[in-house]
């Protein structure tokens, strides 16, 4: 599912002097895995929330799937949104946390998987009857991922989904995610603070400036999977992203000196 963002700006009420996003433009073709990186507070979460139509932009347009507004796309269940918090219902078992989709989603919504199929895709079949508070942080995030896979959506908005996990769990989970992504090929917007993670997963990296967020650099990652950090080509893209990030930090510091 393709996505076009044109001249998108957002100012939160009561923060008139400091826009969160300013005139952001980009286009994502269907099936691309895009990593969004940038300093804290530059508006990455805001961008994802705008696309998920959790909030409305103050200016600009977002078009999904060749002309749908975010709220039309969301109503058609094209969009799946996931954040750093697993957001599980504590009173339901793992299986029921997925099964609840049937009840909560509008009548007649198509689902891709049954709860048990979804659990086995993330390796949680043994935990089907467990309550979330008995699961580790990594397992909770897997469960949230299983729930996302259940939705028949082709645009995944993932706001630092594994940021609260330890390095090792996080690497394993993002590897698993990549394997789930490859056959389905949804369009992914993946917010992260970890440049290595961005380069292991994404086809493209959008680097944002400090607040107000604008696009500082648009970097292609033309590397085959699985990616090797030792690969000189990997190192080269890494350098490019690093430079874009520090370049705009320097500009920011100069402007605010």
């Amino acid at each position: 599912m393709d996505l076009t963002v044109s001249c998108l700006s957002h100012v939160y009420p009561g923060r008139k002097t400091r826009p969160a996003l300013e005139a952001v433009d980009f286009t994502v073709p269907s099936g691309q895995f895009v990593a969004l990186v940038g300093p804290s507070g530059c508006g990455k979460s805001t961008l994802l929330r705008l696309i998920a139509s959790l909030i409305q932009p103050t200016a600009g347009r977002i078009e999904i799937d060749g002309g749908l507004t975010p709220s039309q796309a969301a109503a058609a269940q094209h969009i799946a949104w996931m954040s750093q918090s697993p957001a599980l219902l504590p009173w339901l078992t793992a299986r029921d946390n997925i099964a609840i989709l049937r009840r909560v989603l509008p009548e007649g919504t198509r689902l891709r998987l049954s709860p048990d199929e979804a659990l086995s895709m993330v390796g949680l079949e043994a935990a089907a009857e467990a309550y979330p508070f008995t699961l580790s942080g990594g397992m909770q995030q897997r469960l949230a991922l299983a729930r996302l896979l259940t939705l028949d959506s082709s645009l995944w908005l993932m706001d630092e989904p594994f940021a609260a996990l330890d390095e090792l769990t996080r690497e394993r989970l993002s590897q698993d995610l990549l394997e789930l992504w490859q056959p389905l090929r949804p369009t992914v917007l993946w917010v992260t603070h970890n440049i290595y993670e961005a380069l292991r997963l994404a086809n493209r990296v959008l680097v944002f400036t400090p607040q107000p967020g604008r696009i500082a650099a648009d970097i292609d990652v033309p590397l085959p999977y699985p990616r090797e950090e030792a690969d000189p080509a990997f190192q080269q893209v890494l350098l490019q992203v690093r430079q874009a990030l520090s370049l705009n930090r320097n500009q920011y510091e100069a402007a605010h000196a």
Partner: protein, 256 residues
Amino acid sequence: MKPHTPDSSARAALIIVLVFVLLWEGGVRLFSVPVYLLPAPSTILLTLAQNASMYAQATLLTVGEALAGLLLGVLAGVIIAVLLTLVPHIEAGVMSLAIMIKSTPLVAIAPLLTLWLGFGVLPKIIITALLTFFPVLVNVISGLQRVDGALLDLFRSWRASRWKLFLYLRLPSAVPYIFAALKISAPLAITGAVVAEWTGASGGLGRVMWLAYANLNLPYLFAPIVILAAIGISLYRLLAHAERRLVFWLPSSTVE
């Protein structure tokens, strides 16, 4: 140090009560306190045993009134809280009305209700309901509205209808708050029923206490206090038990 288990803390509570009773008994005997000032625990227990069927009858009536009033108050509190959540713009109006009712002293309403409705059980039930409804209302409103932000966003990203959001997210989130309210309201219900009976009734523990007070018969006055304390503790423990079963996902908030 020994681990702090429910069992060991129950034992500790029992020991504290026992020590208190023994000190009381010993004090009364040592200083020969006259019975019309402070009866000894043994005297109170004797009175209780000698008039067991009379007290049992009065207790049944009082507890019946208290539970009926509590049920009414809880239902009213929950229903109004739900309405206020589904129709938010009436909240300010209804809340000021509720606070008005809450701020009117019980001793002012009780005689009035007795005057209007007689010496039967109805005014007692109404007073108990009025007394218990406010904590329920306030707590359930908090519970329904203070829903985890990430979950709220998730439901909104699914385009859940207002009704489904309520049924599958807000209502279950409010259950712990309902228990918090019940733990305040249940003891209030007992107090409410007794005070209502005190202002005029044909039976019940409040009536017995009023008669005993009028005759300065202190053992008769103290016996119902023992009964009321026992009921209060049992109710609280029952609620705590139900809470642990139903709100299993939160660490226990109850001191036992």
